[in-house]
């Protein structure tokens, strides 16, 4: 058995498309924490997140032939599957929309809900998150973990629609700077 670390990205892609179970277990071992983290952050419920994670890996396994290396790295593709699956799960359970509509009609946002399940097994996380301006973190999380549209973000954060993109850019630039320090 080959040591797992010697897999290149191309080999992983090829193995996945060839339905190599060893490649699959390698992918699971290396990426399931990140994907599970995404699912958990989106659905905010451990049981639902577990179901979503299984669905995510089966989609990765079954739709490997649809992966296009020109459009991004394998991990990026996997993360997209994870995010979309988790958001779909949430929407299909009608949690997300109800909650969002309630928040929209209240005109207030419960910030605490957006930063659940902070990982403790990564050094520097709390440092980064602490230093990331609260408002900047929220704009990233609303978009990435909640699938909010620009309209919704503008309303939730009470900012003009035209400034959502630049706010997003600023948030990520700050994030980048903080990540460099870790």
């Amino acid at each position: 058995m080959r040591p797992s670390l010697t897999y290149t990205e191309a080999e992983l892609v090829q193995g996945l498309k060839a339905r190599d179970e060893k490649v699959f277990s390698y992918l699971y071992d290396h990426y399931s924490p990140a994907l599970y983290g995404v699912a958990l952050k989106v659905v905010n419920d451990e049981n639902i997140a577990v179901d979503a994670l299984q669905e995510i890996f089966l989609k990765i396994w079954r739709s490997a032939e649809r992966y296009d290396p020109d459009k991004g790295r394998l991990f990026t593709w996997m993360l997209n599957i994870a995010r979309n699956t988790a958001i779909d799960t949430l929407r299909s359970r009608a949690h997300k929309l109800d909650q969002k509509m309630q928040e929209l009609s209240n005109g207030t946002l419960q910030w605490e809900k957006l930063s659940v399940q902070q990982s403790v097994d990564h050094l520097g996380l709390s440092k980064v998150l602490d230093q990331l301006n609260k408002e900047q973190r929220v704009i990233i999380d609303l978009a990435y973990y909640r699938g909010c549209t620009q309209d919704e973000i503008a309303k939730l954060l009470d900012i003009p629609l035209g400034t959502v993109k630049t706010r997003m850019r600023n948030a990520i630039i700050q994030l980048r700077n903080l990540l460099k320090q870790v």
């Binding site: 179970e21 699959f24 277990s25 699971y28 071992d29 399931s32 924490p33 990140a34 599970y36 983290g37 995404v38 958990l40 952050k41 997140a49 577990v50 179901d51 994670l53 299984q54 669905e55 890996f57 089966l58 989609k59 396994w61 079954r62 459009k71 991004g72 790295r73 991990f75 990026t76 993360l79 997209n80 995010r83 399940q117 902070q118 990982s119 097994d121 990564h122 520097g124 996380l125 998150l129 990233i140 978009a143 990435y144 699938g147 909010c148 549209t149 620009q150 973000i153 959502v164 993109k165 630049t166 706010r167 997003m168 850019r169 600023n170 948030a171 990520i172 994030l175 980048r176 990540l179």
Partner: protein
Amino acid sequence: MDVQRYISSGIIESYVVGLLPAQEAREVEQAISLYPEVKAAVDACRQDMERYVQLHAITPPKGIRKRLMEVIENEDSEEGETLLPEELREPVMEEEAPPAGFKLSIPQVRIWQYALVLAVVLLIISLVMNVRYADRHKTLKQQHEELISTHNQAITDHQSLQSKLQHTERELLLLKDPAFKWTRLSGNSKHAGQFASIGWNPQSKEVYLLAQSLPEPAADQQYQLWAMVNGKPVDAGVFEMGPQHTTLQKMKDLAAAQVFFITLEKKGGNASPTPDQLFVSGKVNG
């Protein structure tokens, strides 16, 4: 296109976090393929996001890996399929509905049992109907026979009436005929109240008798009509009483007659009248 300005607009970051609507996202993807700087900016942003995501990484519960591997190993079997979340299963073809018509879910043996019961029930119904119709047939036949008999009786009655009518018409003709001379015969002393009438046509010599009021004779006796012609009695025949007495009875023809009289004689009549058996008599008018 001002690539730098495009990059600094925030559209790259918005694209990476999935904020853009589909149309705008396609435009970014086009820009990525056209401008290496855009591609580099997108890749960098993705790395940032991926590192951010990694900060939230959590090791999932232990059992999931094993379960997933089971699903994948048995993927092509039905058992593997049932392990999958429902939305990931191969679409199952709906079991084909049985061809049109109703579905026979009753076992074959029971069908025969039902058929037998049905047959017996039909047989019983048939028998009951047969009996009822046989009864009815009998009744109708009786009625039919009665009607035929009544009809025949009516025909007989009709014929009888017809003949009576003809007879009566004939009598009427005789009575109206001016050629007939009518003589009334009546009884004296012990035969008082007894009558008979004689119609005589001197031209045709016909004689008719109407025995209006004569007592019924004994079985071995018969009344006999006589005519006195020039002082000598001439036989004009015997006649019946009974139902005949109300109708005209034709007697023997007579060429001449001055007096008519009736005597009671032995059955079949006598050659000459018995004088003490004279019942009624009458003289023929001029």
